[in-house]
């Protein structure tokens, strides 16, 4: 078995992820062989997830759009260096997060929120119902307020803590994947996650019910 496959297996937790990583590797090899159009498939596959992560880190739609594009461009420019030691999405996330973090460090003082519309599927609608207990315009107003409070609370977190909780709770990455993306240990990831949750509980206590 190839060494890169061993690494990839160690980093991808589930069989679905492994299958996904294998499929990505095939596309990446096509791009590396000169099939530039094959990269579009990777863009289409990952653009929403990458945008989601970047958006939750920046809380600004325009910045998130630019940073996501930059991340894809950087990935495209450096794809010949990708050797398959980790899954492609981990590598892409790493590029996106590093790009976002450097942007946030440069524009630390700037905080301009722009909120996206929440897609109300079954689970979300249930949570919103529990939180608002209202209908019609009041419900929308409550939801808007909740979104603002959520964004505010997330932006109060430090950049590493915000990154960890975004990747774990919102994007669903495992501890090991987050550790790989952020270049730290799993213990650090767990510690940051714990602290971030505690902080958010304190900030959003008004909306929580135990």
């Amino acid at each position: 078995m190839n060494l890169s496959r061993v690494f990839t297996k160690a980093l991808t937790s589930s069989p679905e992820r492994q299958q996904e990583a294998d499929a990505d590797l095939t596309v990446v090899k096509q791009v590396q062989a000169g099939d530039v159009a094959a990269f579009d498939r990777l863009i289409l596959k990952y653009r929403e997830r990458v945008f989601g992560v970047v958006y939750n880190l920046t809380a600004n739609r325009e910045d998130a759009s630019d940073l996501t594009q930059d991340a894809f461009i950087k990935a495209f420019q450096s794809i010949h260096r990708f050797q398959g030691h980790c899954a492609f999405f981990t590598w892409l996330y790493k590029i996106a997060i590093n790009t976002t973090l450097s942007h946030l460090r440069k524009n630390r003082a700037r905080s301009f929120f722009s909120l996206e519309k929440i897609t109300e599927d079954g689970v979300n609608a249930q949570v919103i119902d529990q939180l608002t207990d209202k209908k019609g315009a009041d419900r929308d107003a409550c939801l808007q307020e909740l979104k603002e409070k959520l964004n505010e609370a997330l932006q109060k977190l430090s950049i590493p803590h915000r990154t960890v909780i975004t990747l774990f709770e919102i994007d669903g990455l495992s501890h090991s994947e987050i550790a790989e993306v952020m270049g730290c240990s799993e213990g650090t990831v767990r510690s940051r996650l714990h602290y971030a949750k505690q902080f958010l509980q304190g900030e959003l206590g008004k909306y929580l019910r135990s």
Binding site: I43, F51, I73, F76, K117, I170, D171
Partner: protein
């Protein structure tokens, strides 16, 4: 009691997961991304972007060797000791120059390695002495030097003009002035020889005092130390002999199995 189900932080964050842009947003996103991608394809990448790749290919050894070589070359080029400037010696055909070469000064006159006393003595024995006859060639040398080295400077031209005017009006005064403007060895040579220097009482010149002190002194090929020194030396040698004797005895006693302290050995 509140019968409603729990709402946790995770539930709230799940709402963030559902926060997605509309479909129209992705059209604009794709268009912008396409433009940036084309620009990136056309853009020439700077050379330092390729450095990590070079390192990954384990090319650091030749790169490091090249860097060290380049650094060494640059260091040698810029930090090597500068070569001493060659002092312009008058042409061999000039009378003053001939005298100067006869003095045996292969090194430049201004070099600190030159023994000034020897130069002075040698030049003093030559024909260049303090006389109007000697002033004539020095004037020529001076004029040649001025013509060759400093003719291009306006100040030099002005000086030359002044000198010519001076020489035309007051010839003796001009020669006297020129004899004082010559280079140090030549000037000293024009002043006096060593004998004269020794005879001149100049309390401020240490060199002249030393010359006067060592004038006519015969060097002894085997200098004998003073009586006091000889006496001390003999005493020390005697002590050393007795110490040697004592240490020898202690070694013999050690050989017999009786350890003898070193301090006892020194008392012999």
């Amino acid at each position: 009691m509140d019968q409603r189900p729990k709402v946790t932080v995770e539930d709230l964050l799940r709402l963030k997961r559902a926060e997605r842009p509309a479909a129209e947003f992705w059209n604009g996103f794709e268009r912008e991304l396409r433009q940036k991608q084309l620009a990136a394809l056309l853009e020439k990448r700077p050379w330092w972007r390729e450095l990590p790749q070079l390192l990954a290919r384990r090319a650091y050894l030749p790169v490091g060797a090249t860097a060290i070589l380049a650094f060494t070359l640059v260091s040698v080029k810029y930090y090597a000791p500068s070569q001493s400037e060659s002092v312009m010696v008058p042409a061999a055909g000039a009378p003053g120059a001939a005298d100067h070469e006869a003095a045996g000064s292969a090194a430049p006159v201004s070099s600190p390695l030159v023994n000034r006393g020897e130069t002075v003595a040698a030049m003093g024995s030559g024909p260049m002495t303090d006389s109007p006859v000697a002033a004539e060639p020095t004037a020529e040398v001076m004029s040649r030097l001025m013509e060759s080295r400093e003719a291009e400077r306006p100040s030099a031209r002005l000086l030359a003009d002044n000198y010519n005017g001076l020489a035309a009006t007051e010839a003796d005064f001009g020669k006297e002035v020129l004899s004082n403007r010559l280079s140090p060895p030549v000037r000293v040579a024009t002043v006096a020889s060593t004998d004269e220097l020794a005879s001149v009482p100049n309390p401020t010149s240490r060199r002249n005092r030393l010359l006067a002190q060592y004038e006519g002194r015969q060097l002894n090929p085997e200098p004998a130390p003073p009586a006091v020194v000889r006496e001390r030396l003999a005493r020390r040698l005697g002590n050393a002999e007795s110490a040697d004797r004592g240490s020898r005895m202690s070694r013999e006693l050690d050989a017999f199995g009786t350890p003898m302290p070193q301090i006892v050995a020194f008392r012999f």
